[in-house]
Symmetry: C2
Subunit: 335 residues, 2 copies
């Protein structure tokens, strides 16, 4: 068994559910929208430490922070009228109400933990199905607004850090391989398919005609296969080009700990290089998950919140990011 | 009076003298070459703490170090047969024998010190003229192998650090202005006219029909004028673009103190940026001349010598430079 902790960042299970008694959220009127929020909240709140946030009442900055942390989608953020999110206190469970479907329940966990994430969501999902009139067809499965979400309505995804496969350009081959197996690969943080910080999201493309456990097994097994390829690519990278890679890592560290102004994109890029250094043991931090947290904390709205500001213009944002990142990294390093 | 210490790096006076009894060094046979060395040494050695090094006996690495420090020229370095240099113990006076002319006496001093440099050379020059048959024509002045060195045989040059004029692209205008005044501007460390590390050498183009003191006054006065332009350009740079310039300075510092591998050209480039930061007060070092010394010490042969090695291949050289520069700079910084 290889050590995948330097490759797999996180796992997410998302379940889409629609309610029979309401038209799809895209066509929903305000009042019916509130009823949906109330119905879902009434089921979920008794199940644990959950809080409801309506997009109407949530301060804009808090909503943007949630979006940056992927707790809510851009789609929900823009649904000011009757969008809401029910969040667990530890933020691992987030249930969006009146997003593309009436209910989008998701669970995020660190590492390769799709099974655990599903185990966390299942009782909530069961409660929703038992108590609400969830759209279900005995031959098709759950019915949702988009055909790709008909069936289990499940999307299982893992976020992977694949610098060696990216640098060696083998990633293209891997993406083809996964596509042929019914899996989707997307760059994370990047526009379109371009991955920033060497981060990729792998998920099932289909939700119909497969069981939940089949989806979880498939994504998990292929993620493990990709981990193996990445480990081999890292080994070759160090064997063939240790000096170049070390130099790249340490320069990135030098820039992140010294820059006076830093854009989010640049941070992403150099953070990816530093993560390579951590993965290969060139740089040691007190906490190896620090960079992954920073990747979210250094995003514009989260950063504004951390800096105790209401808003930052672009220049202020870059200066704040530079000093925040520099201070955080310097104190975290083990020499 | 403006503070020019962050602009003027050093001053150099060079005097070319030829001997009547010998053909020019380019045509000289070995035996006559030795005679020239002996005659010059006999005059100079009694005048102070001088040592003679013949190119034949000087170890190759030591000769290359001398060339990197501009104590000898490439031309002399290649004249293995009968080239020699007479060096003062503090290395401020260097008298090349059998370079392009029989005698090339030069004095280097820090700061804007052309007069002092000439005062240092003059007694040596007088002794040479009194005791040797130096080629001199009463109407033309000193005669030398190249027409540009006929007359005083003097070249007075100052090395200037002109980042703001370079970044604002005003340097072109300055170079034109100086050219029209009979001065030559050259990039230092760079190939051709391209200046690396924002360093430029200004010197008199002519040696004929002007007196020594006229040359010194002219170069000094124009150097001071350029200093004034540079100071104004720096003021504008900070006023218009402080964030950009600070960011550039600190990133350069980050790279120089963290890179794992560093080429001489890259070092020159980033050292120039760090020098801007020192000049503008963004970075404080215990010794402000440190970077100027590093600019020589980090050159390939000097670095090899400092690392106590006989030779370094290109990879070793880059690794050695990176760790030497990083260590030196880190210990020098005042936080």
């Amino acid at each position: 068994m290889i050590d995948i902790s330097s490759i797999v960042i996180s796992s997410r299970i998302r379940l889409a559910r629609s309610l029979n008694d309401y038209i799809f959220p895209g066509m929903l009127s305000g009042e019916a929208g509130y009823k949906v929020i109330k119905q879902v909240a009434d089921v979920v709140l008794p199940l644990g430490d959950y809080k409801v946030f309506t997009m109407q009442q949530l301060p804009a900055l808090d909503a943007e922070v949630m979006q940056e942390k992927h707790l809510i989608s851009k789609n929900l953020l823009e649904n000011k009228d009757y969008g809401a999110v029910i969040l667990s206190d530890n933020q691992s469970v987030s249930i969006m109400v009146n997003e593309e479907d009436h209910i989008r329940a998701q669970c995020f966990l660190k590492g390769l933990s799709l099974k655990q994430a599903y185990d966390t969501l299942e009782p909530i999902d069961n409660a929703l199905i038992n108590k609400l009139n969830v759209a279900f067809d005995s031959s098709l499965g759950f019915l949702n607004s988009c055909i790709t979400n008909v069936g289990t309505g499940m999307r299982a995804s893992v976020m992977l850090f694949l610098p060696a496969l990216t640098l060696s350009s083998e990633i293209g081959k891997i993406i083809n391989l996964l596509s042929n197996q019914g899996l989707t690969v997307r760059g994370v943080f990047g526009e379109g398919s371009e991955a920033q910080g060497y981060m990729y999201q792998i998920s099932n493309a289909r939700s119909l005609g497969v069981s939940e456990s089949e989806i979880i097994s498939k994504v998990t097994n292929y993620a493990l296969k990709v981990c193996e390829y990445e480990m081999q690519a890292r080994k070759r990278l160090v064997e063939n080009d240790e000096i170049t890679i070390k130099d790249r890592v340490f320069r990135a560290w030098g820039i992140l700990t010294n820059a006076y102004s830093l854009s989010a994109n640049e941070f992403m890029k150099y953070a990816g290089e530093v993560k390579i250094g951590i993965a290969l043991g060139f740089i040691k931090l007190k906490d190896n998950t620090l960079i992954d947290r920073l990747l979210f904390d250094a995003l514009p709205s989260s950063l504004t919140k951390i800096a105790n500001q209401e808003a930052l213009n672009e220049t202020e944002e870059r200066l704040t990011r530079a000093s925040f990142v520099s201070k955080t990294l310097k104190t975290a390093r083990i020499k």
